[in-house]
């Protein structure tokens, strides 16, 4: 924790992080839709969020320290223990299902926007509280 606002934003911030991670796995799956042998990856949201909130490989200390920046993908490390690779073989041993990915993406994006908007609302509320105090 580096700022006094963190307790109010922590949940939303981590949710945004995980949603971004999910979007990245979807991008990887879509990119490899036709790659033989590629196994679809999935990041279960709740499980990942819970593990991040428990502080397993916290994101913020990683990026708040200059030495860590750009060194490696910290997020990847965080999501390591929850990422799943889909077993089983479809055609040419590839397990990507385009329709499923599209649906997941729509859902994920919507919930990202939701978290984003709620967080924005929180900031606005605080802003109003502070500015109202000036009068």
């Amino acid at each position: 924790m580096i700022s006094p606002w963190d307790s109010g934003t922590q949940l939303y911030e981590r949710a945004l992080d995980v949603r971004t991670g999910i979007h990245e796995t979807i991008a990887s799956n879509m990119a490899n839709e036709e790659t033989p042998g590629y196994k679809a990856r999935h990041l279960p949201f709740q499980e990942t969020l819970a593990s991040v909130l428990r502080g397993e490989g916290l994101l913020s200390p990683a990026v708040t320290h200059p030495r860590h920046l750009g060194a490696s993908s910290e997020e990847s490390r965080v999501f390591q223990h929850t990422i799943k690779q889909e077993a089983g073989a479809g055609l040419d041993d590839n397990t990507v299902n385009l329709e499923k990915e599209m649906t997941l993406m729509a859902e994920n994006t919507l919930l990202y926007m939701a978290a984003n908007q709620f967080l924005g609302g929180r900031f606005e509320g605080w802003k109003a509280a502070i500015e109202g105090g000036g009068r």
Binding site: S7, S60, V63, L119, G121, W126, A128, A129
Partner: protein, 100 residues
Amino acid sequence: MDDIGIKGIEAVPEPFGSTPVKRASKIDQGFGDMLKQAVERVNEMQHEAGRLEDAVVKGENVSIHQAVIAGEKAGLSFKLLMQVRNKMIEAYQEVIRMQV
């Protein structure tokens, strides 16, 4: 309170970090010290936000939302500090104008 859209107000944390109770028990620490600490913390947060913004601009592995959030937080803290400052100056002027 949530239903009238000003949710989160009850969640406003102690403005500048450490617990006020503990500070009150320390007699040698005055209001000036507290203010100084606050200024330092706000400064720190703005540095942090600036660093994240730099990282995004430089194309380092930082997501945009992290930088934006850090910026928002630093902005809030700064605004809060400004309000405290304004109130203090007001109070000071009131004291100055007081008839003795």
